[in-house]
């Protein structure tokens, strides 16, 4: 089944409509299933301790529920959009970038899982700030933890809402019903100031559909709804990858062939944002306006002294008015690998080509790393090609940082910690770690293989790398005449982002209801009030985040990285000390939390002054702020503890000691 050199093979752009309709259908089925699960979960909320059930599933998660909710929450939308797009853009080096996932399950679940669960049971804690407050018997520390969680997670929630909407938008792009509804919506909201200023009508529609669905099922069903939908989402993700892997390898002509072809690849040239591009001249003026869509191919004779034909792909839509022949500064990328060019030209009939046109004034930029003669084979080796960084994609120090980032910083995520408080017994934990280890092995390494094959199967996607996943899904399934299967495959990305958003939403609302209201404002509130408030706050927090996301912040990926590493820098050390160090006291935990948070923030603020952007943090000793933040957090926690009085003996006894077996037997 080698479709590489088969010039008649069907191609994504031609058949995109089929695949994306499948996406719409699968999205609808999927959403319906999610609501059924939420309704079932809501029934569990009766006759149990409401808060513990609504926010923690009554600490009764079994192996499958626990393992898959953990895995699905950690793999955000990025796993199926950002990660594939990175593999496609930078090549094999992504294997090292993601390499620490070999130990991520055992680290994130095993380092603190058993003990955190025990301590939470012993104190009756339901949330992460709860654990910190109880363990150190310090309301002030609890309040600090709540503030940090609300601060970070609210930013993250908005960012994830945006991510989810963008993914849905990419998937539904080109579906007629969707386009029409979006236009109708644009018309309907045109007079409303805030709504009409949304990025695009398509984005607004996706945000409303995605947001309302997530808010409703999370509010109604609580923790169990989130967990069960996570399980479904987790299964969808792994099945998607398992189906794609053999299809991608066989259609690319085998792994050996893929690697050989990748070794010869050189990065494309591209047009700068502001100026540059190419000039297109039509052989004859046309009677009507000519729309040139993004993704259109343009070819011309080789320039003198070169045998390589010119092949460009439009990256930003443009037009040539009726009666005119020329358009300047068309944004394109130019393929530079002969094999790729010949492959596209070989299947010219089925690709979207603009004919009868000449190219001149080529003003394109080369990658900052990856194009020089001594960087041959750049897609096969480190540090990988990079359009913007002259050090390449993954220099050595960054490779180390990512080992910290995934395994250690993952352990410090409150969304993960909450899950560790919810499993039933140690047997469940042990089996779940194994399950997640196998699960990640089946997802992350295969994704590297699949999207290396994508470089061979779909050249020239650098202009729109985020849609490589849906494009591959459509291509692979069409080639085996099973277009409907694409629906299942493209469900994976929105499954991933949904399962992250719902968990974050519940985490924030639990912080408000449990930590702010119940524990600080009104400890004696009735069960009925708490119940009503839980529903209300979850709904309000979700809706607020959705409204902010209508005009979302830019730098989406940067915000997610900042929040993830900031949370780890603030929470990992206090929790680890609290669980494993008898001597630590409230002052020490406070020192660890504030030390980590402020040093991490300082790296970003220094970046603003030194590098000109908040999101280009200062890298002390070439390391990512997460490493500096974590080190300072652990160090300051240690020093402050040593300088202050030991904790009350009673507290140490409560969490570190148990009655002797002999004494128990006697009594």
């Amino acid at each position: 089944m080698n479709y590489l050199f088969d010039t008649n093979s069907s191609l994504p752009l031609v058949l995109a409509a089929d695949g994306t309709n499948a996406a719409l259908v699968s999205f609808l089925i999927y959403t319906a299933a999610v609501f059924v699960l939420a309704a079932l979960s809501n029934r569990l909320l009766k006759n149990k301790s409401f808060l513990s059930e609504y926010f923690l599933g009554s600490r009764g998660l079994g192996v499958w529920a626990f393992a898959l909710t953990f895995a699905a929450t950690s793999s955000s939308g990025g796993s199926f959009t950002g990660f594939p797009s990175k593999i496609y853009t930078h090549g094999w080096i992504l294997a090292l970038w993601i390499g620490s996932y070999m130990v991520v399950p055992i680290c994130t679940m095993g380092l603190i899982g058993k003990r955190l669960n025990q301590v939470a049971r012993r104190s009756g804690s339901i949330t992460v700030p709860d654990v910190i407050r109880d363990r150190f018997h310090s309301p002030l520390l609890g309040l600090m933890a709540v503030s940090l969680i609300v601060f970070f997670m609210s930013i993250n929630l908005v960012a994830q809402f945006k991510a989810g909407s963008l993914i849905l938008q990419t998937l539904l792009d080109g579906v007629t019903v969707f386009e029409n509804t979006a236009n109708g919506l644009a018309h309907a909201v045109s007079g409303i100031p805030y709504l009409s200023s949304a990025e695009s009508p398509e984005y607004l529609l996706c945000l409303l559909v995605f947001g309302i669905a997530v808010i409703l099922y999370t509010t109604y069903g609580g923790f169990h709804a989130v967990v069960w939908t996570d399980v479904m989402q987790g299964i969808v993700m792994v099945i998607g990858v398992i189906i794609m892997l053999p299809l991608a390898i066989s259609q690319a002509g085998g792994l050996e062939n893929t690697t050989k072809l990748m070794a010869k690849m050189t990065p494309p040239r591209f047009s700068a944002e502001e100026k540059g591009g190419i000039t297109l001249t039509l052989n004859q003026p046309r009677a009507e306006l000519l729309n040139i869509d993004a993704g259109t191919w343009i070819t011309d004779e080789p320039i003198p002294d070169s045998k390589v034909p010119l092949l460009f792909r439009v990256t930003r839509a443009t037009e040539i008015p009726a009666g005119e022949t020329t358009v300047n500064e068309v944004k394109v990328l130019q393929l530079t690998t002969l094999d790729d060019i010949e492959r596209i030209l070989g299947r010219r009939e089925s690709e979207d080509f603009l004919d009868g046109v000449r190219v001149s004034n080529i003003d394109l930029e080369a990658y900052a790393y990856g194009e020089d003669g001594n960087q041959q084979g750049t897609y096969l080796v480190g540090p990988g090609p990079s359009p913007s960084s002259s050090n390449g994609f993954l220099p050595f120090s960054l490779a180390i940082s990512f080992f910290f980032m995934w395994a250690i910083s993952g352990t410090g995520q409150p969304a993960n910690m909450v899950r560790l408080m919810a499993f039933r017994d140690t047997k469940t934990l042990q089996r779940s770690i194994c399950t997640v280890a196998i699960y990640y092995t089946l997802i992350y390494f295969p994704l590297v293989l699949i999207f290396c094959c994508a470089r061979v199967l779909l050249p020239g996607m650098e202009g729109d790398p985020d849609s490589i996943m849906p494009r591959m899904a459509v291509l692979l399934t069409d080639n085996i005449q099973m277009g409907w299967l694409a629906g299942l495959l493209v469900a994976a990305p929105f499954a991933a982002v949904m399962s992250t958003v719902d968990s974050f939403l519940l985490l924030i609302s639990s912080a408000w209801v449990r930590d702010v209201y119940q524990r600080n404002l009104n400890p004696e509130a009735s069960e009925k009030t708490i119940k009503l408030l839980s529903y209300l706050v979850t709904f309000v927090v979700g809706t607020a985040a959705m409204i902010v996301a209508i005009n979302p912040p830019k730098f989406l990926q940067d915000i997610i990285v900042y929040v993830g590493s900031g949370l780890a820098a603030s929470f990992l050390a206090p929790i680890v000390y609290g669980l494993y160090w008898r001597r630590v006291n409230a002052a020490g935990a406070m020192g660890a939390m504030l030390g980590g948070f402020s040093v991490h923030l300082a790296m970003y603020v220094t970046g603003y002054f030194v590098n000109g952007s908040f999101f280009k943090p200062y890298q002390l000793f070439n390391f990512d702020p997460i490493i500096i933040g974590l080190s300072v957090s652990f160090l300051s926690g240690f020093v402050v503890t040593k300088l202050t009085a030991p904790p009350a003996e009673e507290l140490v006894h409560k969490y570190f000691y148990t009655t002797k077996a002999t004494t128990k037997a006697k009594s």
């Binding site: 390499g99 130990v103 055992i106 050996e256 041959q376 180390i400 770690i433 194994c434």
Partner: protein, 125 residues
């Protein structure tokens, strides 16, 4: 398992769950260090080359050899270790019953005591 705080050190011993999880955490941290020391230096020494001859690339099972021996193989080893560690090494411990609402009840009690004391103090003066 009793969890009532007591100052009677004679009748208390260090919680085995604490001891077991601490030991397990150290081993897991060790595994992370081993994974880091295997993957990153191996990939750096074998996978960061310039001027690669496209015809002379080394592959193992179709993937570049540095990826196979630097990532794929240790990944499998880590999986085997994880499974062994979790199923055969980690101690099966009793995590105790959940004291739902106990923290809150304790604080409410403390709050009332403080209030009572304040009232009592007020009466005295």
């Amino acid at each position: 398992m009793s969890t009532t705080p007591s100052n009677d050190t004679e009748s208390m011993e260090l919680d085995p769950v604490f001891l077991h999880s601490k030991r397990e955490a150290w081993i897991i941290l060790g595994l992370w260090v081993v994974a880091l020391l295997w993957a990153v230096p191996y990939c750096y020494l074998n996978g960061y080359q310039s001027g690669l001859d496209p015809e002379a690339i080394e592959t193992t099972m179709g993937i570049p050899s540095w990826v196979f021996w630097g990532i794929a193989f240790p990944w499998l080893v880590a999986d085997v270790f994880t499974i062994w560690f979790c199923l055969f090494y980690m101690k099966e411990d009793d995590l105790g019953v959940a004291h739902e609402g106990e923290d809150l009840a304790e604080e409410i009690a403390e709050m009332h005591t403080t209030q009572d004391e304040a009232t009592a103090g007020g009466n005295e003066s």
